[in-house]
Symmetry: C2
Subunit: 338 residues, 2 copies
């Protein structure tokens, strides 16, 4: 595996910005129709939540997947919009659940417009995403999309159950990741391929790619929770530990720690997790057992496998550049710091 050349990174950035622009244009047209005659507050909340500087990664994956299977037309950007609607619907409900007050540097909807608005605007966006998928992606697309949304809700329940449990196993950690993130990212890619009428091999290849980069993304996210610069990530370090989320660096440490250190970690997990000293001790223990380096190696391995999954797309066709962008996107995950 090689690092992306600066030229390729530049391509990805430029293409991502161009795709985001077209997705946002499609979104505005769709919202104008969908919100016609609706309550002004609903319209305000929907716009506030959708246009707040999101990176539009999910729509980008749908667009690139469809492009590298040979289709790129206006409806593609509307299809991609559905994934952004669903994503934002999830964020709205997550912020209610987590009582979050800030998102992307602004007040969350629940803080600014209240609980009722946050829950109902989330339901509205959820329904609208299903409508678009049903209209554009066919029965199989809708079924894949619904399975991914069902899986997200289930993943939250599994995570809730595992919170603070030092007996969490790595397999359970990856199960939560797959349920919460992987299945949805896989479906963004699979639906792009299905939309383009790709053969089964390509649909599966892109679905596997999505599943693996989704997992890699989450592992890196969990690393950034420990090691990220709050100035870049916009989040305080150590959130996961405070919430009792046992992520890969800690899991790898628990696996390798001496009995005494393992007991110490278990004590730190069951005591007051908000104490800064507890967090510092856990970080020191993870460093002692190379937990961060091992988790980073796992992320790299997931990305390598995602790149390998793109093998059916190696022919130098006109779609080649979109495949290369998917490769760059996978590599970018390893280098991101926000």
């Amino acid at each position: 595996m090689t690092s992306p050349s600066p030229e390729h990174s530049l391509d990805l950035r430029a293409v991502a910005a161009a795709v985001a622009g077209r997705v946002e244009a499609a979104m505005r047209v769709d919202l104008e129709a969908a919100l016609a005659g609706c309550d002004p507050l609903l319209a305000e909340v929907v716009h506030y939540s959708l246009f707040s500087g999101g990176k539009r990664i999910r729509p980008l994956l749908t667009v690139l997947s469809s492009r590298c299977c040979g289709r790129d037309d206006n409806d593609l950007y509307l299809l991609a919009t559905a994934f952004e609607y669903l994503h934002v619907a999830t964020l709205l409900h997550d912020d209610v659940i987590d009582r979050a007050d800030q998102r992307r540097g602004r007040a969350t909807v629940v803080i600014r417009f209240g609980l009722t608005a946050a829950i109902l605007a989330g339901d509205w966006l959820h329904a609208r995403s299903m409508y678009l998928i049903g209209r554009l992606a066919g029965p199989r697309g809708l079924s894949t999309f619904c399975a991914a949304t069902l899986s997200m809700a289930n993943g939250e329940f599994v995570q809730l159950r595992l919170a603070g449990d030092p007996n969490t196993r790595e397999q359970q950690y990856f199960e939560v990741i797959r349920q919460k993130t992987g299945n949805l990212i896989a479906s963004t890619c699979a639906l792009g391929a299905l939309f383009a009428g790709a053969d089964e091999g390509r649909v599966q290849a892109l679905s596997t790619y999505g599943d693996l980069i989704g997992a890699a993304f989450q592992v890196v996210d969990d690393l950034l929770d420990f090691q990220g610069d709050p100035g870049n990530t916009g989040k305080k370090a150590g959130n996961d530990f405070v919430e009792g989320k046992i992520t890969l660096p800690l899991l790898k440490t628990l696996e390798r720690a001496s009995d005494a250190d393992r007991r110490l970690i278990e004590e730190l997990l069951t005591a007051d997790r908000t104490a800064p000293a507890s967090y510092q001790r856990v970080v020191a223990l993870i460093e002692r057992y190379d937990g961060f380096a091992i988790a980073a190696a796992v992320a790299k391995n997931l990305v390598d496998r995602a790149l390998a999954a793109l093998a059916p797309f190696t022919s130098p066709e006109q779609e080649e550049s979109s495949v290369q962008l998917l490769r760059n996107l996978a590599l970018y995950i390893l280098s991101r710091n926000t």
Copy 2:
């Protein structure tokens, strides 16, 4: 219009119970598949919320509508299940919004399992309902269903905006009813007809019937909020007034009241609405201006129009008994006390 004979009432009750039994059986089969491998808490919350003595009115409407268009097979009960899923998803989120502690004589999900479980199980049921509709109702069915769910969320926003506003007009009241209830009830009937492959005339007739009985149901509900026996309804009288909901009896009173009485009502609406004396004074004013009787007459008129909408089904076919049951159901709305 005549009252239903005791025989017909008996029929409706017996058929409703039989249909509810088949819908619940379909639900259990579907849940076994959908929840396979899911978190046990998710499964528990979903079962707790679905099997709590609901009357299954929405599925009944779908089943009767399809039957009177000539189709009655196993898939029909699965299609009908989707409406119960959506209904319960809405109740779960409503109970979070209203901070309700009791539903159907038991603790609400939000009280018993917490906010996270209530929001996420609602999302899960919402997604599953879309999945079933997409699979069984075709693109037009999904589109109708999604439009109804979008409309429900919008109706809540409109209601929120109108709360406590004595300048609410009757047209706005009916707009909220249509958005929150009518469109969904219309879609339960329309999807039954679409599922049976009915012609456009019958789809429209059943949709209109559903819209009108949905409105009648809500008007009667609003009357029961003032006049119902808490022993029957399970709710304390006067909730709507306390919440600032200006419903038809009060609207009709505001329309007919002297300037002085109108000002008095406006004062009662803007002062502390939780004071029992305020509620008693509002009830007395509504009685003075016949607000209850006038609202009851409006409900009767809506039911008459719903019965008239069923005109395309007058031929003495084998479907006649299902049409008669739809008629009885409409008439039952006027006599219900729970």
